[in-house]
Structure formats: structure tokens, C-alpha cells
Symmetry: C2
């Protein structure tokens, strides 16, 4: 059985839940309460020296980290249904959309960065919110431009089935909504995320649907 060490609100864990669900895989989910600092405990540090979630324990007994690496693993270990298209250029397109979120947006707005802004730089709440919204706007402007300009866009980010691009987009849209980002300039990506959220596999991966949700 696959075991996912997770926190309901972690958007990286949310990505992995979506990938697992889309592939129809069964998994146990063990909550790591980030607010209570459980990710800093020795038990979790042994699984991941970075102290981050998600960590996926595989059926082969490995503990995997980094949501993108976990998704690539799931794609290789459990190929059906695929979350990457067939052609190599198309695969690169899907990965680059996912990585736009993973490398240009999410890292700037995670808990430890927001904590540094408050604790080390002493910024107030409004300045912190402006920081958050700035990086969301910058990333989503690029994401929206790609969806509208690139011919491969379909009812989902790439064609008419969900791919890793959607797996990464949906949690980022959730986060943006939670931080009151104005998404009116990104109708294509919002429509795409809404279509994703109609899928039961994605709906049941959402933060509010998890056992540890508060």
C-alpha cells in the first residue's frame, strides 16, 4: 500500500493526492500537522531531512520527496491513465506549465517564506499580502498567456484530459483564492481549474475533504 505523509492545506501534498486519485491508486494518508510543528520532529525528519510534506512511502519501501519527483515516479510506476502526453515536445510543454507553478510561484509564497517576511523583515500584513499577490499575478499572467496562445490547450491545460499541468494548477488556484487574489484577468486558467474541480478524483483531493482538515 502507498502511504502519503501529508497536511491537508499543503498545496504540494494536494498535487500528489490529485495524481494518486487520477491514477485510481489506493493510499493511506498520515497527517503531519505543520501548525503543531510535527514536520520538525525526528520521526518526520528521518523520512525527509527538509522536514517538508509530502513524503510518499512506496510499495517498494522508499520514502520519496518533492511533489514533482513523486508525480514523475507515479507516472513511471503506474503508467495508466497517463498524466503526460505521448509526444516528447508535448510532454515538455506539460512539464513546463507544471514547473511554472512549482518553481516560479509556490516557492515564494509558502509558509516559511511568509514567516521570514514577518519575523525577519518585520513587514506588516498588508505588505505580506501584496508580496503574495504579486507573485501570483506574475505567474498566472504567464500561465494564462500560454493557455490562450498555445494551440495544444484544450478543455484542460493540454488537450482534453487532465495532465500534470492541471495537477499543479488546481492547488495554486485554491491558494490564490484563499489569499484573496483577483483572478479576473485569468479567465482561461480559472475555467480550466473549475473544470478540473468537477472531477470527483480532484474534488476528493481538496484540502477540505481531508480527514485532518480543520
Amino acid at each position: 500500500m502507498l502511504t502519503l505523509h501529508s497536511y491537508f492545506r499543503s498545496s504540494a501534498a494536494f498535487r500528489v493526492r490529485i495524481a494518486l486519485n487520477l491514477k485510481g491508486l489506493d493510499y493511506d494518508q498520515i497527517p503531519v500537522n505543520l501548525l503543531k510543528g510535527e514536520h520538525r520532529l525526528e520521526a518526520h525528519r528521518r523520512r525527509n531531512p527538509q522536514g517538508l510534506v509530502p513524503v510518499l512511502e512506496t510499495e517498494q519501501g522508499s520514502a520519496l520527496t518533492q511533489s514533482m519527483a513523486i508525480c514523475e515516479y507515479l507516472e513511471e510506476r503506474y503508467p495508466e491513465p497517463p498524466l503526460l502526453p505521448e509526444s516528447l515536445e508535448a510532454r515538455a510543454r506539460v512539464r513546463s506549465l507544471a514547473l511554472l507553478v512549482a518553481c516560479e510561484m509556490h516557492p515564494l509564497n509558502n509558509v516559511s517564506v511568509l514567516g521570514y517576511l514577518t519575523d525577519q523583515l518585520g513587514v506588516d500584513e498588508a505588505t505580506k499580502l501584496a508580496w503574495y499577490q504579486h507573485w501570483v499575478a506574475k505567474g498566472f499572467t504567464a500561465f494564462e498567456a500560454r493557455l490562450t496562445q498555445e494551440a495544444a490547450t484544450g478543455t484542460f491545460c493540454h488537450g482534453d484530459k487532465p495532465t500534470l499541468a492541471d495537477v499543479f494548477l488546481v492547488p495554486q488556484v485554491f491558494n490564490a483564492e484563499r489569499f484573496n487574489c483577483d483572478l479576473s484577468a485569468y479567465p482561461t486558467l480559472v475555467r480550466t481549474a473549475d473544470r478540473c474541480r468537477e472531477l470527483p478524483e480532484i474534488e476528493k483531493a481538496a484540502p477540505a475533504a481531508q480527514a485532518d482538515a480543520v
Copy 2:
């Protein structure tokens, strides 16, 4: 012919040059001068709405973005020599080390973030440098712990041949040195990066070896 749109000092472009060189691929390199704002010009925005480098134009005529997506493409299109190991768990390990750099370290210390700290938050040079060094220390502490604790570490990050983990590590070490980060707490990763830099394929990918270096 492959064409890489690049800037000598961009560490994401540096990664792609290393991967291209390790695979023995010929490519044209077209400099995009970030200091002169050439990445914001329409010609480059057409290649990449994000206005970032690197962009790889493939032999099939696609323009690929995001260094990790480009590296995965190169691995799939030109499999020899491989930059990912064979076993699926080992591939996940290598990817997670590369992504530790790509998702947890580099995004926090790139030009646009440092610019925001100075221009929007009004921090001084010392505070900006402390920010930079904080995220390098946090990431490298985890990277070092993994290299020392995980049995798969060899003379390179994974076994005895360079992989994508080394491709991502080397430019990050270059950057850390440029920003005067104290690396004495990370002897394993520094030794690994030094071994990489002895390879002619990696040496000729270095910023100072590029035609647009100043």
C-alpha cells in the same frame, strides 16, 4: 541544430548547458542580455511569455522553457548517456535532489526576487545578502544531509556518474560562492561539485566560459 537562448550568468541556463554538454550535443547559443532588458523585448516574449531564459529551440522547431522540463526532454529525446538512473526509486531520488535546488533554493534568490526586496520592501544590501544566505543555508543543509545519509550517494550525487542532481547542484554552488555564502558546513556537496567541475563538459558550461560573459 539545437538553439539555446541563454544568459551567461543565469543558473537555469547553466543547468541546460551542462545537460547538453554531458550528452555531447551540439547547439548554438544566442545570448539574451538580462541586464539590458533583452528578455523583456517582444522577440523574446514570443518565445517565452515569462520573459525568462533559458529557452531551447528543438530540432523539431518547438521552443521549450523551464530548465527541468528541458532536461527531461533531452533525456527522452537523446537518451545516451543517461542523466537519470534506471530504477524508478533511484530516478525519483535524483529528481528530488534536483528539485530541492529548483524549487526550494533558486526561486528565492533570483534577480526578480532580490529586486522586489530592494525596490518594494526597501531592504538594504546587508539584509538582502542575509536573505540570500538564509535560503542557501536552509537548502544546502538538507542537500548535505541527504548526500551523507543516503546509501546511493557515490562520487557524484547518485552513484559514480553525473546525473540531473549534479546538473542542478553545480550552478547553485557557483551562485552561493558568488554571494559569499559560507559553505564549510557542506563538505560532501562541495566535494561533489568540485568533482563535477573537473569534467570538461561542465567546465565549458560555466558562466565565465560563455561568449557573452563580461
